[in-house]
């Protein structure tokens, strides 16, 4: 079988060892790094995402695939840096100040990382300044904010405002999510987007970065 197809399929099966093995072999066979990434790993993850959306597979299957993705990415990353291949995007995520709930945020992190984005997870109880400072320092494309408490939701507004104040709005998008958060709320506070679950976050961040 085609090596890239083998990467894609072992990733879909959530087999991290095989995914790493085939990725390593593809590198040895001098298949271009970008092609291994796009037609092997990301292609496999796209199938997984679609199957999940169609209710054919469950969340653990997606997470197993994400783990396999990490295994492949670990091998590809040094080459990507060397060859100056841009990563799919860089996202700073965290739960906003005053809020310690991070289950949903963690899930979003796993999904985004599994989809090939670089994720910097600031944890919970994160101040607006820390989000923005980190995004600038890391040259991130997106800030992802999570809140579970209605009382901490206003912090999201502060982050959005801070990005605008510092004149970063053209380079950094702010996407928000969490149980009490809605699409309407995102519009009200001027956030770039709202995402309703982990899988949806992949499409959402991808659209913000590619401008699609």
């Amino acid at each position: 079988m085609d090596l890239l197809k083998q990467i894609s399929e072992s990733l879909q099966q959530g087999d991290d060892e095989k995914t790493a093995k085939f990725t390593g072999r593809a590198i040895d066979e001098k298949i271009p790094t970008q092609q291994i990434l796009d037609d092997g790993l990301i292609a496999g993850m796209t199938v997984v995402g679609n199957k999940f959306k169609a209710h054919d597979i469950f969340l653990p299957d997606v997470l197993m695939a994400a783990r396999a993705m990490y295994a492949g990415m670990d091998l590809l990353k040094p080459l990507m840096i060397k060859e100056n291949i841009p990563i799919r995007g860089k996202v700073v995520i965290g739960t906003v100040q005053g809020d310690l709930h991070d289950i949903g945020k963690n899930l979003v992190g796993i999904m985004l990382k599994g989809a090939g984005f670089e994720v910097i997870d600031l944890g919970n109880d994160v101040s607006p300044a820390k989000f923005v400072d980190t995004a600038v320092a890391e040259n991130a494309n997106v800030i992802g904010l999570s809140a579970l408490l209605t009382t901490t939701m206003p912090i999201m507004q502060q982050v959005v405002d801070l990005v605008k104040q510092r004149g970063l709005a053209d380079n950094i998008s702010v996407v928000i999510g969490g149980a009490p958060v809605t699409e309407q709320y995102a519009r009200d506070i001027g956030a770039s987007a709202y995402s309703f679950d982990g899988i949806n976050a992949i499409d959402c961040v991808d659209k913000l970065i590619t401008g699609a």
């Binding site: 959530g14 469950f58 969340l59 997470l63 783990r67 289950i103 963690n106 709202y194 309703f196």
Partner: protein, 487 residues
């Protein structure tokens, strides 16, 4: 492991109800409009009244009949594989029976079902994982009444493989309905060894057996075809107002059926069944979704179990006219109680409007209710949960257990995941997927299943014989055509 269970009757009360029912059978007797059966029972010591139809049982007669009833039996599909085990607290769901109407999803209107509707329902039942057997759930209106009983069994055996809960409308129809089964099984011996159908036989409340239904009991017994007795006392109308009084009558009527069946053939398989109901004196209706109806069902099932006889009930259905909230809650409440009571054959899925209207959309919803209740009665048992410490160490280390070995091993066994008929999306995803109502999701599932259906694997020769027999039966009734085929 503890099997979750509900009980309504103490054993003392069961004994008392049985005692009163036996007293009625000995002192008042039952009326049987069937001279052959009257003389058979009279030969065995029953006392025939002056009218020649009222027959009083002796205590010995009842005891002897009860002794020979099998404690369990199995049903086998058309391929000969075991499909249903009527034993102990096993729970098997089958669609409700013999609706006159079908509900049209698009218009919300009822109409008389056609052959096409009937075939659709068979094709869906075939694919319902939580529905163990078929039932002849509707009466196709595009064939004359005199063949409508055998014709629906024919369609069920031709298009489906699951065993069939059915019944004959006349004495004569039994012959063709038995022959259709022989076409599938090959021989009388094989049919007796591997029952394919259950025949519903209904006494008439109070305390009467018509010539047809009592003869059906005998004919089935002689061929070892299982019978479910369906006594229908109506509280406060054709039975005492109290639930206990209704149970006494149900017991008497059912015991009389057991006597008829066991004297025709000792050891003939039966289900201690019924369709009693509360009577709503405001509307003159017999609500199947009334909590009292459900309580009577569960309680007589306890009496059946006390007698060591497998049980059946018409429960887990609704009186609503549409697939609305009432349809859902009445069905779920009945199915939950029935499952907790361990009723062996639960007849209900798909049915609305006092069991007179079938809905394909409700059938796929009810399949989910059945799936959930079946999960519920599996109860709670440890699955590599002890010692617990390693699981929690893993949780604290990995921050979640979504892909732990333990999760992956037990996820699908421990949790029941319903189809997309049941909405469990968050609001945004629900909106993204079309913001569909339950009815719309159910209809979508119906369409998907009808497309996914593949012809049954029943032997082609058997299928040809089924059609030949059905055509012969139609010609015998001077018919020139059956729907879709000239004779």
């Amino acid at each position: 492991m503890m099997r979750p269970q509900v009980r309504f009757l103490e054993n003392d009360l069961i004994e008392q109800i049985l005692g009163e029912a036996r007293d009625i059978l000995q002192k008042l007797g039952v009326t049987i409009h069937n001279p052959g059966i009257v003389s058979m029972l009279s030969d065995n010591g029953a006392i025939v009244g002056d009218d020649g139809e009222t027959i009083r049982f002796t205590s010995d007669l009842i005891d002897k009949a009860l002794k020979s009833v099998p404690a369990s039996f199995k049903l086998y599909d058309t391929l000969g594989k075991e499909a249903v085990d009527m034993a102990g607290y096993n729970v098997n769901f089958t669609p409700g029976s013999t609706a006159l109407n079908i509900l049209d999803h698009a218009t919300g209107e009822m109409s008389r079902p056609t052959t096409a509707d009937y075939i659709k329902h068979v094709r869906i039942v075939e694919q319902m994982p939580h529905i163990a057997s078929q039932s002849t759930a509707m009466i196709p209106s595009d064939v004359p009444e005199m063949i409508s009983d055998s014709y629906r069994l024919y369609l069920s055996l031709l298009h489906g493989t699951k065993p069939v809960v059915t019944g004959a409308f006349t004495i004569e129809a039994f012959g063709i309905m038995k022959d259709l089964q022989l076409a599938v099984r090959g021989s009388e011996k094989e049919l007796a060894a591997k029952p394919l159908t259950v025949f519903s036989c209904c006494p008439t409340s109070p305390l009467k057996w018509s010539s047809v239904t009592s003869q059906n009991v005998i004919d089935c017994a002689q061929h070892m075809i299982p019978v479910e007795f369906v006594a229908m006392p109506l509280s406060g109308f054709m039975a005492p107002i109290t639930l206990t009084g209704t149970l006494v009558q149900h017991t008497a009527e059912t015991l009389s059926g057991i006597v008829i069946s066991q004297f025709a053939k000792p050891g003939a398989p039966i289900l201690y069944g019924g369709s009693p109901a509360a009577f709503d004196i405001r509307y003159e209706t017999t609500p199947m979704g009334a909590v009292e109806t459900e309580m009577i069902d569960c309680a007589y099932n306890e009496i059946g179990k006390y007698l060591n006889i497998p049980t059946q009930a018409y429960i887990g259905l609704s009186d609503a006219k549409l697939l609305d909230a009432q349809a859902g809650f009445e069905t779920a409440m009945g199915a939950t109680l029935a499952a907790l009571s361990g009723i062996n054959n639960i007849s209900g899925p798909g049915m609305l409007d006092f069991e007179s209207c079938f809905s394909l959309e409700k059938l796929v919803l009810d399949n989910e209710i059945c799936g959930m209740t079946k999960r519920m009665i599996k109860g709670i048992e440890p699955k590599e949960d002890f010692p617990s410490l390693p699981h929690f160490e893993e949780l604290l280390r990995d921050k979640h257990l979504l892909i732990s070995k333990h999760t992956r091993k037990y996820l699908k066994e421990e949790h029941y995941f319903p189809s997309q008929v049941i909405d469990r999306a968050n609001r945004s995803r629900w909106q993204e997927e079309g913001a569909l109502t339950l009815g719309e999701r159910a209809h979508k599932e119906v369409r998907r299943l009808l497309e996914a259906y593949r012809p049954s694997e029943t032997d082609d020769n058997a299928k040809q014989t089924l059609t030949r027999l059905m055509r012969g039966e139609a010609r015998r009734h001077k018919m020139r055509e059956l729907p879709g085929q000239k004779l």
